[in-house]
């Protein structure tokens, strides 16, 4: 309702265009680069720490080195790809149910 009530003038200028991919351009590129680098550092630190610390797994799969890191990365990759595929199946126009 609120979407409908708000006049079009409030819509961002991009809204009229076909949905484009978002770019993280609300954060200045300089900062986003720094954030990305920081994040990369965190990943590396986590891996290194993982080798240093004594990781005692509860589950047999945890014996695999870097199991959690791999599982996280692959899991999310799979998740995103499957979701993209899911769209083909379930996506409908926004007003699909409006003719009830």
């Amino acid at each position: 309702m609120n979407e409908k009530r708000s006049p079009d003038s409030l819509q961002p200028p991009e809204a009229g265009r076909p949905p484009a991919q978002h770019g993280p351009n609300s954060v200045p590129p300089r900062w986003s680069k720094r954030i990305l680098l920081g994040f990369l550092g965190l990943c590396v630190a986590a891996v290194v720490a993982g080798f240093l610390a004594d990781i005692h797994g509860e589950h047999p799969w945890e014996e695999v080195p870097l199991f959690h890191a791999l599982y996280g990365f692959l899991g999310i990759s799979g998740l995103i790809l499957v979701s993209k595929a899911l769209r083909r199946l379930v996506m409908r126009p926004e007003d699909y149910y409006d003719d009830e």
């Binding site: 609120n2 200028p13 809204a15 609300s26 994040f39 899991g75 998740l79 996506m91 149910y97």
Partner: protein
């Protein structure tokens, strides 16, 4: 502790007062209700029960044990936060309806978790349904009106299933007491189904997806806190260690995350996320060990806090901008920095980042899975907890506050909203840092230490690389775009198929009625017309006959009579 009032009563009285007061008086009252309620329930001791005779039964509207008390504390906290969050409401936002409905709703949730028998449970169960529907309707849109109606019907389906189950149970066993139920017999399955609807079991879940995003910004905060948690409580009470719950929970934890990735409406994304989190709890209850139950209820406790916080932050965005769709938002951190930070605390909590509360409860469930020997479920749940990071940890804050700049420039939300969010955020962090605060309240004695190096490190690895995958996909621009669209879900079955079925059946009944009547008329009319030809004012039976023909009749009659006698 006999001086305590029944916990729900405080809220119901508060609701009554809220209906008749206005302005500052009401605001004070609204804040006082959960506080007073909390003080009241703090005095309730384990084992306290209030019984009364009713309709020939002995009911137990209040029965306190550790499990119900935990939920009792939780609901007071949740009610307090949500009430503060909604203090700003104005008349145009149906303030009175919302406040009253919210207090009744919270009170009913309290009633349900303290209910010691099925009749009391049913009463509060239905009150939950009815009062919460108003929180959706109050948004006053054609969409919310219909969604609210669908929501109410589904909730009442749950209610009548509970009623039917309770009836069968009382008929079979003669007892009304609400304790362990189990899945033997139809009554058990019906009660299971009733709770399942409220807990959003797979395929029974779509009311949540359908309705929560249609609620008012403040109403949805209440909604997120109570209904599903009452269901979790009821499962923990009635169906612990029921194996099917483990698989149901796993399914619940997994399938919504796929939908969450492609969902454009951020509040709907949160709704999917909610099912995902309940999945963990359900799974834990299914495992049923002391650790698992502790984990499940602890996670329920935490979920109320961080999911509330996330819904509050999205509600704040919606309140200020009127938008909730990822495709419409972006770059709000510039004008709503506090909100953005609070939202990220919520995101971190739900993602189970160490030092946030999600971590201390979710890991209990994961450990319990392994202890329970569910070796194949554990990786599934691990995948699900990684998935949480994707949609709740990253997607929500990212698309609302960062991402592409939508050009929207607004302000921070009203102070009461910020205050409420802050309280929730502090609670998230506090429990994350000092898990003992929560562990002390759990139903079973806790001997669990989340913070060992191995645990923390593996969790950080999991999260960091999950985020890494998102980053990679984003940079490669193959991450699915936010598209204005709806995604079909199980609600299709009643929004489309079911609605058509009801409409058509109704029409068919009406038509059958008409057809029957006209068929009857078709039979009756010729009969009537025939009779009319004979009996009408000019028919032979009503005409004046000449004397001659009358005499002829007499002769015929006589002849007939004589013939009849002699034959």
């Amino acid at each position: 502790m006999t001086s305590s009032l029944p916990p729900f009563l405080v809220f119901f009285v508060g609701a009554l007062l809220a209906a008749v007061t206005r302005g500052t008086v009401r605001k004070v009252l609204l804040v006082l209700v959960p506080v007073a309620g909390a003080l009241n329930v703090w005095g309730v001791e384990e084992g306290y029960a209030w019984q009364l005779e009713f309709l020939g039964y002995v009911l137990e509207p209040v029965r306190a044990d550790r499990l119900s008390l935990l939920f009792g504390y939780l609901f007071h906290l949740a009610a307090f936060i949500a009430v503060v969050y909604s203090l700003h409401l104005k008349k145009a936002e149906n303030a009175t309806v919302q406040h009253v409905a919210a207090l009744v709703y919270a009170g009913s949730a309290l009633g349900a978790v303290f209910a010691g028998d099925f009749i009391s449970l049913f009463v509060f169960w239905e009150l939950l349904a009815v009062s919460s529907a108003f929180l959706i309707w109050s948004r006053r849109g054609p969409g919310s009106a219909r969604a609210g109606m669908r929501y109410l019907v589904v909730q009442v389906v749950s209610g009548v299933a509970l009623l039917a189950g309770a009836l069968m149970r009382v008929h079979e066993t003669g007892t009304l007491s609400f304790g362990f139920v189990g899945l033997d017999g139809l009554s058990g399955w019906l009660i299971f189904l009733a709770i399942g609807v409220k807990a959003a079991f797979p395929l029974l879940h779509s009311w949540l997806i359908d309705a929560y995003p249609e609620g008012t910004p403040t109403g949805t905060v209440f909604l997120s806190a109570f209904t599903t948690k009452v269901a979790v409580y009821a499962l923990a009470r009635g169906f612990p260690e029921t194996e099917i719950l483990v698989y149901a929970g796993a399914a619940m934890a997994c399938f919504p995350i796929f939908y969450a990735v492609i969902e454009n409406d951020l509040r709907r994304t949160l709704a999917y996320s909610m099912i995902n989190q309940i999945g963990f709890m359900v799974c834990g209850i299914g495992v049923g060990s002391a650790l698992a139950i502790n984990g499940a209820v602890a996670h329920a406790f935490n979920d109320v806090l961080f999911k509330g916080l996330l819904f509050m932050s999205m509600g704040a965005v919606m309140h200020m901008t009127g938008k909730t769709k990822a495709s419409d938002l972006g770059g709000l951190y510039k004008t709503m920095p506090f909100t953005a930070v609070l939202c990220m605390i919520g995101a971190a909590s739900i993602s189970a980042v160490p030092l946030f509360n999600g971590f201390v409860s979710k890991s209990m469930i994961m450990s319990a899975l392994i202890d329970g020997g569910y070796m194949w479920i554990w990786p599934v749940m691990l995948f699900a907890s990684a998935g949480v990071v994707e949609h709740a940890g990253i997607k929500i804050p990212f698309f609302a506050f960062f991402a592409q700049d939508s050009g929207i420039r607004t302000r921070e939300p009203p102070r009461n909203m910020l205050a409420a969010m802050t309280v929730a955020a502090i609670a998230c962090v506090a429990i994350g840092v000092r898990p003992g605060l929560l562990y002390g309240l759990l139903p079973y004695a806790v001997d669990y230490h989340p913070y060992d190096a191995s645990h923390v490190l593996t969790q950080i690895q999991l999260l960091a690389f999950a985020i890494g995958a998102i980053v990679v996909f984003q940079l490669l621009k193959i991450y699915p775009a936010e598209i204005r669209a709806v995604n079909l879900d199980a609600d299709w079955f009643y929004r489309r198929a079911g609605a058509r079925l009801v409409r058509r059946t109704g029409d068919a009944v009406a038509q059958a009625g008409v057809a029957l009547r006209s068929a009857a008329a078709g039979v009756a009319r010729p009969m009537y017309e025939g009779a009319f030809r004979a009996h009408g004012p000019h028919g032979p039976l009503a005409r004046s006959w000449p004397a001659g023909s009358m005499v002829l009749w007499v002769a015929i009659m006589l002849a007939a009579f004589l013939l009849f006698q002699f034959l």
